[in-house]
Amino acid sequence: EDKVVQSPLSLVVHEGDTVTLNCSYEVTNFRSLLWYKQEKKAPTFLFMLTSSGIEKKSGRLSSILDKKELFSILNITATQTGDSAIYLCAEGTSGSRLTFGEGTQLTVNP
């Protein structure tokens, strides 16, 4: 059974800090690794990673995938209170489904 594990489950930081969120996975037919930000209820897409070692970057957020060690990290630099959210990692395998991890609850205090 495919499995995605995220750590830490929760994290509290101060504005300006840099954070690293972790995601490890076990899959039988890996296709892609995705990161979502969930505020309120709707997850919003951040990154999709398919190749090892290639960093994806968007503003203060970046992510990288290691297909040999089966993990990905999401980095957020110079955090802001607006970054407070649940960050979800998901893997997309064969077929149509995404398998999500439990998420990391990030709280950024002013």
Binding site: L34, A42, T99
Partner: protein, 114 residues
């Protein structure tokens, strides 16, 4: 529409009551997905449609759960004889080309069974 629209946003049901949750996907999107998200957990896959065809319903937790998309656009998730463990946020997502990796999520329906 501009995004995926779900209704109602909140639903309180008495145990044993039937409920129907609606999803209006982005216009022209072929694929539609339903996920269930319990408190403190990540979303879990329920079912997938490509146009009106339900191609995967392996995530539906019991035969009390039923989903349809009769005209290949709006979808309805129906839960019969609701139970307390059905309390969750039900998320709908749609995508243009049938890949879940390009899916856009709606705001979800929070179902509370009392």
């Amino acid at each position: 529409g501009a995004g995926v629209s779900q209704s109602p946003r909140y639903k309180v049901a008495k145990r044993g009551q039937d409920v129907a949750l609606r999803c209006d996907p982005i216009s022209g999107h072929v694929s539609l997905f339903w996920y269930q998200q319990a408190l403190g957990q990540g979303p879990e896959f329920l079912t997938y449609f490509q146009n009106e065809a339900q191609l995967d319903k392996s995530g539906l937790p019991s035969d009390r759960f039923f989903a349809e998309r009769p005209e290949g656009s709006v979808s309805t998730l129906k839960i019969q004889r609701t139970q307390q463990e059905d309390s969750a946020v039900y998320l709908c997502a749609s995508s243009l080309v049938g890949l879940s990796t390009e899916a856009f999520f709606g705001q979800g329906t929070r179902l509370t069974v009392v």
